[in-house]
Structure formats: C-alpha cells, structure tokens
C-alpha cells in the first residue's frame, strides 16, 4: 500500500506548480491552465483523504468542484476572448490601462 504522504506530496507539487504558473506566466490562457492544475490538485487531495478515511463524501466534493471548474473555464475563456477583441492581445503585461 502506498503511504498517504506520497499522494499528498504529489498533489502539493501540482498545487505549487499551479501557483507558480499563475504568478509567473504572462499569457492569460496559460494562467488559466495553471488554475486548472490547482483545482486538480485539490481534487486529488479530496480523493486521497476520501480513500484513506473510508468516507465517500470526499469523492462527491470532487464531483462538485469539477462542475465549478467547467463553469469557470467557460466564463474565463469568454472573458479572455472579449478582451482579445478589444485589445488584440492576451498578454497580461500589455493589459495595463489600469495600473496593477
């Protein structure tokens, strides 16, 4: 049996990769992919705990989070496309009428 720590460290790694992507990448779509990584890692944590605690509810939460992730992706990409129409760019550096 794989120890629970292995799964947790794996998901923490994914989470940290996601945060790095959000903080360092300039392209809004890659930032978006990084956010999906973060949500996936939280999901993996839920499933891990659900399995090791013998409690199915955790799996249900993953189900909910997937719905939210899909909704967020749809809205996010719509916003990115609307912005692209106005500015012809999705690079966060060039999005600077408002100061950060």
């Amino acid at each position: 049996m794989i120890p629970i720590e292995y799964y947790l460290i794996l998901s923490a790694f994914m989470f940290i990769m996601g945060v790095i992507g959000v903080l360092t990448r300039k392209n809004a779509i890659i930032v978006f992919m990084s956010i999906e990584l973060m949500l996936n890692s939280a999901n993996l944590t839920f499933v891990t705990f659900s399995s090791y605690l013998g409690n199915v509810t955790g799996q249900l939460f993953v189900f909910f989070v997937m719905t939210v992730a899909a909704a967020e992706a749809a809205v996010g990409l719509a916003i990115i496309i609307a912005l692209f129409r106005n500015k012809q760019t999705v690079s966060i550096d060039e999005i600077n009428i408002l100061k950060w």
Binding site: A12, F15, E36, F63, V68, L77
Partner: protein
C-alpha cells in the same frame, strides 16, 4: 514492490513531469497537450484510489470538455498564421522565493503529520453510494450547481458573442 506500486509510480511520474511542463514550456500548444497528460495521470491515480466513477468523469469533463475549451481559446486568441505562439515569463525571482518557502512549509507539515487512515475496503463501485449522497444529503448543493451552470452559460454567452 507489487504491481499497484508500479502503476502508482508510473502515473505519478506522468503527472509530475507533465505538470512541470505545463508551466515551463514556452509554446502554448505544448502546455495544452501536457495539461491533457496531467489530467490522464490524475485520472489514473483516481482509479488506484478506488474512485472509478470519478476517473471516468475526470476524462469526460476535463479532457473532453475543459481542455477542448482551452484549445479553442488558444486558437481564437493567437494569430497562428505568421505570429509566434510562444509566450513569456514574468517576475520569476520573487515568485520562486515565495514558492520555495511555501513548498518547504507544505512538505515539512505533510511529512510530520499523523494522518488518520482507516483501512476500509471501498465497494467495488462507488456510483451507488455517490448517487445516494447526491440525492439525499447534498440535494441542495446539487440544485445550486444547476443554477451555477445556468449562470455560467448565460454569462459566457453574453460576454463572448459579438455585439
């Protein structure tokens, strides 16, 4: 080391390497395809953890839905003809310091914690118990998600369509 351990290491490697690639490659198309590999790796881990139904849903929703959406986003927002689709990296140093600290803390905490673990065997399939929970204790959330999807649909359509 039995076969399950080997499968775990296989999927874990796929997940780690592809997650690393998502945030580090310069080409946005490569990022997207690596993201797909990550989703596959996570789905495999779900199967190992006894979450068969979720593994299927993961493939359908993430690979079949979200990833396609992201690829469409890439196509609609990059002038693929003649324009480079490479992307750049910003403020790397402060970010890596923050992240390094963060990662250290997380690892230290996780290794030194006595996680509760119960060795109960899951039933062969979890669909039945998930369905019961969804329709009884979590019915409110289930309905709320319906509204959330409606709002997302209306919002996305309203903001993305041309005037």
């Amino acid at each position: 080391m039995n076969i399950y351990d080997l499968i775990f290491y296989l999927f874990a490697t796929i997940t780690v390497l592809s997650a690393l690639a998502v945030v580090s490659t310069k080409n946005i198309i490569y990022s997207a395809y690596n993201l797909m590999l990550t989703f596959f790796g996570v789905a495999g881990l779900y199967v190992l953890l006894g979450a068969d139904f979720l593994a299927i849903v993961q493939l359908i929703v993430y690979v079949g839905g979200i990833l396609i959406l992201i690829l469409f986003g890439v196509m609609l927002t990059n002038k693929v003809n003649g324009m480079p689709i490479h992307t750049e990296v910003t403020n790397i140093i402060p970010a890596s310091i923050t992240i390094g600290l963060f990662a250290g803390i997380v690892l230290a905490f996780f290794m030194n914690t006595n996680w509760k673990s119960v060795t109960t065997e899951f039933p062969a399939t979890t669909i039945q118990s998930l369905g019961k929970l969804l329709m009884n204790e979590y019915i409110l959330i289930f309905e709320l998600l319906g509204v959330l999807l409606l709002i997302a649909l209306i919002g996305a359509a309203s903001i993305a369509r041309k005037q």
